[in-house]
């Protein structure tokens, strides 16, 4: 026994301490508990892994029987195989860094203890998700991280857009969870167990399904679940809105860990998926469509966090594409490298936003290179990693995916390469707009809350309007001198994690993860290594950077001319393909309208209230007649008694009397 249960227990303790007593604790104690428990968890992961390596077979620990019903036996069971080991390291490692960062980023926020309590709770559920050795325990973590995501998106709960975004994330995820639940039921019916090893062992015996059968249905339903959690088309709409949450949350939950749970689950179920080629094709197509759509939207957005949110969706699409073509190892590789550079991009964006006093619109930035050189330096590492500059971490995983895709379908490959170019373009665009050229913030009076573009009415500010006043005051005290004009560098607790992540983004790819994962994943066919594929992939990335440089540095007037020329098409992409509007029109509005006119006014107000009120008014009506007997006059009562007595006597007399 390696006491695996301690890994999620540490953050749970942190959650309980901060959640129950945090209100009374000083901020330093809250930070210590929050960061300390996650770091403890990370160290325990390291100790455990060093003890149980090389992990050719899973290390399983059974604690108790959870559900025993008929033939179904579901134990409380944690297991570590190489797949879990990778996820554990990513979750606790990046989690620790982001916790450290958050102590700086959230330093002046109200609800400091609440934030860290939620964040620790998230760590607990995420670790349960990756450690659980059956689908049901995974599902517990799955739902738990969804809950924490909801709580943290709506962290600024006084701001309407934040609580709406939280609701949206939760409700859209319900659709996915519905699919996941159905998939679990079918797995129980088919395999009589939910334990991963047993399911996979049996699934390996099943013949490959070339027509739609049980395996295909299970996999398609699992895909629905994964699409909800990992923001794949058509359930991607919640992730951009989730940027309402504080930036560390965006980095940890909505970029590095939770949203990759869908990919993890798909890889976990790889053996089943391999038996259902139709479902695999569906996974690949969903991934590809997501990658293309999100990347194109990313080119048009002005809010720095929105750009990275669409970038996340697009990269997740890449991972699904990889899983769909059977390249589960590269998919997980991309999960890891993406966790490095996307967490870094978000944290860096957070540092930029912090230094700009909560300005998120890139049109008001520019030239920040001079003011915040450390942030720029670290972000540049993430930039070249996501753009796929050779020998960075992103390049390795992306080339692995592209290679596998080419052997599956050259058409998909070329679309994916094009998307890689678009990816490089939009990231470079955001970097050029933010860090190069002249600083455009000074033109905006008292940088911050007032100069936003009007057309974007989704709040793109970390802060609720309700806390705005307080916030302004806090900043006026804290950065009195610097507040009006100059951006300022973030403190060490913020750029320290950035530096670590920057190093990982650059060198993180040299570790051949797919090879490491081979014992944990079903054997994949090895494809011939073709050098020209890598040259094309690398060229696409560099080309994207060059185009962005031309458009945003060399000839800054070009983008406007181009958008004017594109007109309607640009508007369509800028409006995120109007998917939200389509959902509003087809689902949300009919649902709200139907609820309002039928369920509320018809059923509730009409029928149910009608019944209750009807009972009342009937009683009143009957009472209205009965009240005429109640005269208050004693003699009347006497008369009634007399009449009653006479009536009884008469009845008895007619009936023959009492014998």
């Amino acid at each position: 026994m390696q006491q695996l249960w301690l890994i999620p227990l540490f953050p749970l303790i942190g959650f309980l301490i901060n959640g129950l007593f945090g209100r009374k604790l000083p901020k330093s104690a809250i930070s210590l508990v929050a960061v300390g428990t996650v770091v403890a968890s990370f160290l325990w992961v390291l100790k455990t892994l060093s003890a149980i390596m090389p992990l050719e077979t899973p290390h399983i620990e059974t604690y108790a029987t959870w559900i025993q019903s008929g033939f179904v036996n579901i134990p409380f069971e944690f297991a570590v195989d190489r797949l879990t080991a990778v996820m554990l390291l990513v979750v606790t490692g990046i989690g620790s860094l982001i916790h450290v960062y958050a102590t700086g980023y959230m330093a002046e926020e109200d609800g400091y203890y609440r934030f860290f309590a939620y964040l620790n709770l998230f760590m607990f559920f995420m670790l349960t998700l990756v450690l659980g050795n059956n689908y049901l325990l995974l599902f517990v973590g799955w739902e738990g991280v969804g809950l924490c995501s909801y709580l943290l998106i709506g962290f600024y709960y006084l701001k309407n857009s934040a609580s709406t975004a939280g609701n949206k994330a939760f409700i859209v995820n319900r659709v996915g969870d519905f699919g996941f639940s159905l998939a679990m039921f079918l797995i129980v019916i088919q395999f009589k167990t939910l334990t991963f090893q047993d399911v996979m062992k049996q699934a390996a015996q099943v013949p490959v399904e070339h027509a739609v059968g049980m395996m295909t249905v299970i996999c398609l339903l699992l895909l629905v679940g994964a699409a909800g959690k990992s923001a794949q088309v058509p359930l991607h709409v919640w992730l951009p809105d989730a940027m309402e949450g504080p930036t560390p949350v965006s980095a940890l939950i909505h970029a590095a860990t939770m949203v990759t749970a869908g990919v993890y689950m798909t890889c976990r179920s790889a053996t089943i998926f391999l038996k259902a080629p139709i479902a695999m094709e569906a996974v690949a197509i969903v991934g590809l469509i997501t990658a293309v759509l999100a990347a194109t939207i990313g080119m048009t957005q002005w809010d720095i966090k929105k750009v990275f949110a669409y970038s996340t969706i697009s990269q997740l699409g890449y991972m699904f594409l990889a899983a769909g073509v059977g390249a589960f190892g590269p998919a997980m590789w991309h999960v890891v490298t993406h966790a490095f550079f996307k967490a870094l991009l978000f944290l860096g964006a957070g540092a930029v936003i912090y230094s700009m006093h909560h300005e998120q619109d890139m049109r008001h930035m520019g030239g920040l290179r001079k003011y915040i050189p450390i942030t720029f330096g670290t972000l540049a590492c993430a930039w070249i990693a996501i753009a796929g500059v050779p020998l960075t971490s992103g390049w390795f995983s992306k080339e692995a995916i592209l290679g596998a895709v080419y052997h599956h379908s050259p058409i998909m490959y070329w679309i994916a390469v094009l998307t890689a170019m678009v990816t490089a373009f939009y990231v470079s665009r955001s970097m050029f707009l933010t860090f190069f050229g002249e600083f455009r913030g000074a033109a905006v009076p008292a940088a911050g809350h007032h100069g936003h573009g009007d057309e974007d009415d989704h709040g793109h500010d970390d802060h609720g309007h309700a806390v705005e006043k307080h916030d302004d005051r806090a900043h006026a005290v804290a950065h009195n001198a610097a507040h009006d004009t100059e951006p300022h560098e973030a403190p060490f607790v913020m750029w320290g994690p950035l530096a670590v992540l920057a190093a990982l983004s650059i060198v993180g790819g040299f570790f051949d993860l797919p090879h490491f994962l081979e014992p944990a994943l079903p054997p994949a066919e090895h494809v011939a290594h073709e050098a020209w594929l890598e040259i094309v992939g690398s060229a696409a990335g560099i080309l994207g950077i060059v185009i962005a440089h031309i458009m945003y540095v060399a000839k800054p007037e070009m983008p406007d001319a181009l958008t004017a020329k594109l007109g309607g098409l640009y508007r369509l992409v800028y409006d995120k393909y109007r998917v939200d509007e389509a959902y509003d029109l087809t689902i949300v509005d009919p649902l709200i309208g139907g609820s309002r006119s039928f369920l509320w006014k018809g059923l509730d107000a009409g029928l149910i209230d009608g019944m209750v009120n009807g009972a009342g008014s009937t009683a009143r009506l009957v009472g209205g007649f009965a009240r005429w007997i109640q005269t208050g006059n004693m003699r009347t009562y006497g008369a009634w008694v007399l009449v009653g007595a006479v009536a009884v006597l008469a009845y008895l007399g007619i009936g023959g009397g009492v014998r």
């Binding site: 009240r627 109640q630 005269t631 208050g632 006059n633 004693m634 003699r635 006497g638 008369a639 007399l642």
Partner: protein, 106 residues
Amino acid sequence: MPPAPPAVPLTAYLIVSAILFSLGAIGFVIRKNVITMFMCIELMLNAINLSFVAFSYKHGTVDGHLFTFFVMVVAAAEAAVGLAIILTVYKNRNTLMADDIDSLKL
């Protein structure tokens, strides 16, 4: 055992009792003065007492006597309380007419 008195049939007692009770009941309904109504109640009670005693005598048991004593005790208590209530009502409302004392009405 003393020699049997000349026989008065049970029916005679019961008829007297019924007449007394009817007088009381009708008086209760038609008279307006609370004290008169109260006296009517006493009349009804005593009519019942008479029939109890008559039955007791007829059947040669003491049950009827016992009931009669109970009724007398209750009637005494009722007279004490009832007259006190009537006095209080008169003090407060300055009337003893039952028709005027109808504030229990809805």
